[in-house]
Each structure stands twice: as structure tokens, then as C-alpha cells.
């Protein structure tokens, strides 16, 4: 079978549960040394806009699903990730220039971390909600609610673990997301999108764009319909500019370190406080 012509894959975006090319028609080249690897889509601001529309449309349904159901769906994603292990290992070792053992370790860690966050789905309200002591004939509760639509700039490396670290804490509480993947190693993100498409995650809950972060980030920061951003994957020198661009609509903008923290989840929660009269 040496004379067989291999069927090459078209790497596309993931918006609203579908895999479109960029509206702009652009792609960029990924090479390792002199070897051509892939032409992933280079998303434009209009692709970002479409992704936000999809994420906004899916948000109330995702937040309205029961915590148990969200947890099950996230766990299902972990099951699917497990089945793609060898593909992830190949992509990571190729583009991040790691050994196979290192790549395997990253994939295993990513799946474990995803499961860790999935477990939080039905524990967030009990852990972070409170009954407040008040002096009056009332109950007073504070319950955590998702912020809404979250824009994520994923780190360049590690491409899979970084993506999981950013995405899982956002989705678990009922937020929907638009994630701009690693520019230098986007193949894992695209494979990850295929995992999402074959899980039970409703369309639009997670949208994945590949392209140039510096091009998309300012549009994301100034977009009035994105409630919060994780800019962990943006270059440090751009953080101030992004925070300024997001100030007009009081966008909550965070950058996190690499350590796993529940802080990542809590950051994308709003607190809703309810007074309830006693005896009625």
C-alpha cells in the first residue's frame, strides 16, 4: 500500500456545534522544521461574533440544566477524551516537541483534571452558597450563579492541559464559552472540539476558534455581550490593554497561574442573594 494517497484533514473551527471554515476563508500554516503539518483556520472577528451569538443562545439552557445533568455530560466528555488518547499524544509530541512519555503524561493529567472539575458540578451550590445570619423574620440566602458568556484565551503550552484548565472551571457552573486555542499547537484543540461534538454537550455551549490571539483578543475584550474573560493565555504585555477594553461593560477579566484552584471556578460565578420571609 505504499502508493496510496493519504486523505488529509481540513482543520476547522467549532461554532454552535458545527465545524465551519473561517468566514474570512483564511488559514495559517503549521510547520515543524521544514515539514508541513496542517492549515488550521484563522478565525476572524466575525467568526468570534458568530461564536458569541451561539454561546449566548445556549447559555440559559446550559445554566438551566440540573447540576447533576451538567456533571454527567462533562464526565461523558472525559470518557470520549480517553478514547482519543493516542491521537492527542501524537499531536502533542509533534507540535510541543515533547517525548511520547511526556505527551502521555499530559493527556492523562488533562483527563483526570477534567473529571475533577466535572465532579464539582453538583457541589458548587452547596459549597459556595450560604445561609446568611440576619436579625429579622427572614431567611437570607446567597447562591452562586454562572456569569454567562466567557471568553477564554488558552495558553500556548501545554496545549491540552492548558485548555482543560481554562475551559472546565468555566463550563461546570453553567457558563458558556468561546475559547481561542493555542496558536502554535492548535491541533489538540480541534481534536478536543471533535470530542465535544461526539459528547452530549449542547451546541453552542463551547465554541473553539483557532487563529491569532492578538487579533481576536481586543474584539473579545470590547464585545459587549461577553460577561467575563480568562486571559491566562494572552501575552503579559497585553493584559492591561485587554482589561481597559473590557472596562466599559464591566467585564470581569482574570489571569490565573498554572496551579489548580477552585478559584478558577469561583471567579466565574455571580452571587445572588435572596430574602425570604419566614412563616409564609
Amino acid at each position: 500500500m505504499t502508493n496510496r494517497i493519504e486523505v488529509l484533514k481540513t482543520y476547522k473551527l467549532y461554532i454552535n456545534g458545527q465545524f465551519p471554515r473561517s468566514e474570512s476563508g483564511r488559514v495559517y500554516e503549521i510547520k515543524v522544521g521544514k515539514d508541513f503539518i496542517a492549515n488550521p483556520a484563522q478565525a476572524s472577528r466575525k467568526d468570534l461574533r458568530d461564536a458569541v451569538t451561539a454561546a449566548r443562545g445556549a447559555q440559559s439552557g446550559w445554566a438551566g440544566a440540573t447540576a447533576y445533568n451538567r456533571g454527567q455530560i462533562l464526565y461523558r466528555i472525559a470518557e470520549m477524551l480517553e478514547g482519543r488518547t493516542s491521537q492527542f499524544v501524537e499531536e502533542i509530541s509533534l507540535l510541543e516537541k515533547t517525548t511520547t512519555a511526556q505527551a502521555k503524561a499530559q493527556v492523562a493529567q488533562s483527563i483526570d483534571r477534567w473529571v475533577w472539575y466535572a465532579g464539582w458540578a453538583d457541589k458548587i451550590a452547596t459549597t459556595f452558597g450560604v445561609t446568611n445570619p440576619v436579625a429579622g423574620p427572614y431567611y437570607n440566602f446567597t447562591v452562586p450563579e454562572p456569569m454567562g458568556v466567557v471568553g477564554i484565551l488558552a495558553p500556548e503550552k501545554p496545549s491540552l492541559l492548558g485548555l482543560v484548565d481554562c475551559l472546565a472551571p468555566v463550563l461546570v457552573s453553567g457558563n458558556t464559552a468561546i475559547l481561542v486555542a493555542s496558536h502554535s499547537a492548535p491541533l489538540t484543540a480541534i481534536t478536543f472540539a471533535e470530542v465535544l461534538a461526539t459528547s452530549d454537550l449542547p451546541a453552542g455551549v463551547c465554541n473553539i476558534l483557532t487563529g491569532i490571539k492578538d487579533e481576536l483578543a481586543p474584539w473579545m475584550a470590547s464585545h459587549m455581550d461577553i460577561n467575563a474573560m480568562d486571559i491566562s493565555g494572552a501575552a503579559k504585555k497585553n493584559h492591561t490593554a485587554l482589561r481597559e477594553a473590557g472596562a466599559d461593560n464591566l467585564k470581569r477579566i482574570f489571569a490565573f497561574g498554572e496551579k489548580v484552584k477552585t478559584e478558577r471556578m469561583i471567579s466565574f460565578l455571580e452571587a445572588k442573594t435572596i430574602w425570604h420571609t419566614v412563616g409564609i
Binding site: R49, V52, R56, W219, S222, H223, M224, D225, A245, D248, N249
Partner: protein
């Protein structure tokens, strides 16, 4: 009326005339409409198109759940679509059910919208299944309450049964009630007419019977204002103008929800009937959700960033 030279008013002459109409090239109409939909509209033209589209919107609420409060809110929005920006033009008209016309008129008068037209849907909208006295009373009520535009539906059952004379006569009777007092828009409900040939025929029946506007749909049937249907109707008004010297307007209603859809409609108008039809007097867009999207696009062009639906009113 120069139309007297086209038909003499009898059903036989109407049918004879309709049989002279050439058939619509279905594939050609769809291809041309699709081609015009790919036109790229650049920034300066887009800004102009957005304002023009806003001024052409018949801001509509036609729900069983319409309350006086909702109608008043709609009127306020129609007069001043973006309360934070006085450069936004007012809409073309407010479109409500017959019994809400009084509420709308009173509220518009109170907030300084004396000259904002109010369109009422009549003649047993949306089905049109009622006796003629009921349809006449429906229309008279609306005009008496202050409607300045009447959106009537044709009897699609009669049309599909081939009784063109009945369709014609009904329009003529309603037109006689409207004369001097209200603009008459005739809703063809193209989604129920099945073919483009029928759309063309129904357009001519309405125009010959005295319609001031021909309107695609009630908004209650899908498909509604598809691009090829609007194209066929625009060709009809263009040809009718050449024939009689009378300019008839077109109202596209139903399914136009985004700025992109609206601009595609404007391109169709410009390329088919011509730029002289690009005025609220001759082209309208019946819509409710569209206005918010137009306002958001306007904000995007003004502020240079994408807007959020949270910054426009919920209808």
C-alpha cells in the same frame, strides 16, 4: 385610474389579462435573488442602509397576548427607537391588531407621534376566513379608531380555487372604504400561494384592484418573505409602473430578523424596482425582532465594538 384601460372590471377581462402574464422562471428567480444576496455592502453605505431600513420598519406586534401596555411600549420605541441616540430615525409605522389601534393612537398623540402612521391588520387577519360584511366592519372599525394604513389579507382559498374575480372584488370593496382615509396594503400570503406564477398573478390582481402596497405575508405562515418572492413582487410593481404609470409599494414581512436580511432586501429593491423605490413610501419591512438587531448594528458602527442585546429594549 389608468387601469381601466388594462381591464374593464369584469372577471373575464381580469382572467384574460392574467393569462397574458409570462410565467416566472423559477430557477432564474432563485438564482438572481441568491446572487443579489451576496453583494458586499461597505461601511458608509451600510450605515445609510441601516438608517433607511429603520425608517422602513413597520414595527409589529400581532399576538393574542398583546396588552395595552405592550402596544404603548411599542409605540414609544417606534417613535424613538434608541432613547440614548436622537439621530436614529423613527420607524415607518406601528402595526397592530384592529382593537389596539385606539390605544396606539392615543399614546402616540400623547408622546408627540401625531404623524407616525398606524397600520391595522383587518379582514379577519390572518386567515381571511370570514364573510364580507365582517371584513368590511373590521376595516371600518380600524379606520374609525385612527388607523391610517390597512393591511388586509386576500382570500387565498378563492384564489387557489381560481375565483380571481372574488379576490379582486374584495380588495376593491376594502379599497373603497379606505379611499382618502387610509393606505391599503394587500397581503398575498405567498407561503400559501405555492408557486411564483401565483405570486405574480396575485400581485397584479391586488394592484389592479387598487392596492397602494402589496405585502408578502402575515408573518403567521412559513415560508414568508423569501428573497425570490420579494423579487417577483418587485418585478410586478416595476412592470405595473411601466404599464400604468402608477407606483405601488412593496412590504416584505415575516422572517426578516437580522440586519443582513434587511440589507439584502434593500439590495433587491434597488436592483429590481430601482432606487426610486428606496423610500418608506414605497418599501416597508414588517418586523418586530429586526429593529433590535438594526439598533445593535448601529451601535457597533458607532462605537467600533460588538453590541449586546442587553443594551436594547426587550419587546
Amino acid at each position: 385610474m389608468k387601469t381601466d384601460t388594462i381591464i374593464d372590471g369584469s372577471e373575464a377581462s381580469l382572467k384574460n389579462f392574467l393569462h397574458t402574464l409570462p410565467g416566472v422562471d423559477q430557477v432564474g428567480a432563485q438564482a438572481r435573488a441568491a446572487m443579489l444576496g451576496t453583494r458586499s455592502v461597505k461601511n458608509a453605505a451600510k450605515a445609510h442602509a441601516i438608517d433607511l431600513a429603520i425608517s422602513m420598519v413597520d414595527l409589529t406586534t400581532l399576538e393574542g397576548a398583546d396588552t395595552p401596555g405592550k402596544v404603548r411600549a411599542l409605540c414609544t420605541k417606534g417613535l424613538r427607537p434608541d432613547p440614548t441616540d436622537s439621530s436614529v430615525p423613527r420607524v415607518g409605522a406601528i402595526c397592530v391588531y384592529n382593537d389596539m389601534v385606539g390605544v396606539a393612537r392615543q399614546h402616540l398623540d400623547a408622546i408627540g407621534g401625531h404623524d407616525l402612521p398606524i397600520a391595522a391588520v383587518t379582514t379577519a387577519f390572518p386567515s381571511g376566513r370570514a364573510s364580507m360584511p365582517v371584513k368590511i366592519q373590521d376595516t371600518q372599525d380600524a379606520i374609525a379608531s385612527g388607523a391610517t394604513e390597512i393591511d388586509m389579507v386576500i382570500d387565498r382559498g378563492a384564489f387557489l380555487a381560481g375565483r380571481y374575480g372574488k379576490v379582486f372584488d374584495e380588495i376593491k370593496i376594502i379599497k373603497d372604504i379606505c379611499v382618502e382615509r387610509a393606505h391599503l396594503k394587500v397581503i398575498l400570503e405567498t407561503g400559501e400561494l405555492v408557486t411564483y406564477d401565483n405570486v405574480r398573478k396575485a400581485s397584479y390582481i391586488a394592484m389592479l384592484a387598487g392596492a397602494d402596497f402589496i405585502k408578502t405575508s402575515t408573518g403567521k405562515v412559513s415560508p414568508a418573505a423569501t428573497a425570490p418572492v420579494v423579487l417577483v413582487m418587485l418585478e410586478a410593481v416595476r412592470d405595473f409602473y411601466a404599464m400604468s404609470g402608477i407606483k405601488i409599494g412593496v412590504k416584505a414581512a415575516g422572517g426578516i430578523r437580522t440586519t443582513k436580511d434587511a440589507i439584502k432586501q434593500l439590495v433587491l429593491v434597488n436592483e429590481t424596482a430601482g432606487p426610486q423605490w428606496l423610500t418608506p413610501d414605497l418599501f416597508r419591512i414588517g418586523a418586530s425582532a429586526l429593529l433590535n438587531d438594526l439598533l445593535m448594528q448601529r451601535m457597533k458602527m458607532r462605537d467600533g465594538r460588538y453590541a449586546s442585546p442587553q443594551y436594547v429594549t426587550i419587546d
